[in-house]
């Protein structure tokens, strides 16, 4: 590997951007491919599949075997709302490999006792989210049911290109939310990305079951599963 390629790879990783390094095993020829450039590649589908899976692998190529090294950032999960669902969701998301942060300005909800051992920020989202750093490798869920807290945070998550944006609330609640977001200037292409009602439709009833549905929906979005959209 050329030192210049290694330096570029480490720079991309430190900036939380996904990259592939393709090595032809026979010749040692090597290329760094940024996520945004995959579509221009000859074997874009195989490379895209490798990136979505997050797993490095040996693939057959035109010049024999090649090793596709997949470098994707550790996914974050940012939950707005220190509510009952979040208490179940946070440990599950950690187990699934997410770096989890819960944000809620309501100090009655955001207590260390309710969220022992978890990263909890008792601030308004507009104060807390910039430091957390929402990005393309972040899943976001708004769970407070309070538009004053949820709406701006949802807009920020859409603006940051979070790979998953979910919002708690019925279809009726969500319709009103869409009206408010439109009034705030969030365009329809972005708001169409919001998963609401939140979670895969598995008939979830309890907070823990809803947490499973939300986490499954986020994983589908991350991995390009059949429930992703």
């Amino acid at each position: 590997m050329e030192l210049g390629l290694l330096a570029a790879l480490n720079e991309e990783r430190s900036q939380r951007r996904a990259v592939l390094v393709v090595t032809e095993l026979a010749s040692g020829a090597q290329r760094l491919i940024r996520e945004a450039d995959i579509d221009a590649e000859d074997e874009a589908d195989a490379l895209r599949a490798a990136l979505l899976s997050g797993r490095s692998r040996v693939q057959p190529g035109e010049a024999g075997e090649r090793f596709v090294a997949v470098h994707v950032p550790a996914p974050k999960f940012v939950v707005v709302g220190a509510v009952h669902i979040s208490q179940a969701l946070a440990p599950m998301a950690i187990a699934a490999g997410f770096d989890v942060t819960i944000v809620d300005p309501r100090t009655a909800f955001a207590t260390a006792e309710r969220f022992a051992g978890l990263r909890l920020i008792a601030e308004w989202p507009d104060e807390a989210l910039p430091a957390i750093g929402l990005d393309r490798w972040t899943a976001f869920a708004a769970l407070t049911h309070d538009p004053k807290i949820d709406d701006d945070a949802i807009a920020a998550a859409l603006n940051a290109g979070c790979f998953y944006v979910g919002a708690l609330g019925s279809r009726k609640t969500h319709a009103k939310r869409l009206e408010r977001l439109a009034e705030c200037g969030v365009n329809e292409r972005d708001t169409a990305r919001i998963h609401a009602p939140i979670g895969l439709d598995i008939g979830a009833q309890s907070p823990a079951e809803i947490a499973v549905a939300v986490l499954a929906e986020a994983i589908a979005a991350l991995r390009g599963g059949q429930h992703a959209r």
Binding site: E2, L3, L6, A7, R13, S14, L25, R55
Partner: protein, 113 residues
């Protein structure tokens, strides 16, 4: 300012860049395939210098010694190598994987322009 998600102190690719930046001759070993119960996943790295100093892990200790020896050769010769370790190998009883797994390791030198 986004925080780096990898720990620069323990990150093998960051260490490889730093060692090379210090003027050391460096090789990088990467697990590229595993079969059975291999101890370290695909993508695991070992960084090695010409003196045989190394950091990281490709097998949890079973074959590191052999990889380091090969890596020192790769640093001297320059051409990359694909190594394979497993219980089916002739050498398995010396440097095999006692878990019964099999791994392929790509060893390459870090080159300057």
């Amino acid at each position: 300012m986004p925080k780096p998600t990898h720990d620069p102190k323990g990150d093998i690719l960051a260490i490889a860049e730093r060692w090379a930046g210090e003027g050391r001759d460096v090789a990088l070993a990467t697990v590229i395939e595993t079969w059975g119960s291999a101890p370290r996943p695909v993508g695991s790295h070992l960084v090695i210098d010409a003196e045989g100093a190394f950091m990281g892990s490709v097998s949890g200790g079973c074959v590191e010694g052999a990889v380091v020896t090969e890596a020192v050769d790769v640093i001297a010769g320059g051409d990359p190598k694909v190594l394979e370790f497993g219980v089916a190998d002739e050498t398995a009883w010396e440097v095999g994987l006692s878990c019964g797994g099999r791994i392929r390791v790509y060893v390459e030198k870090l080159t300057r322009g």
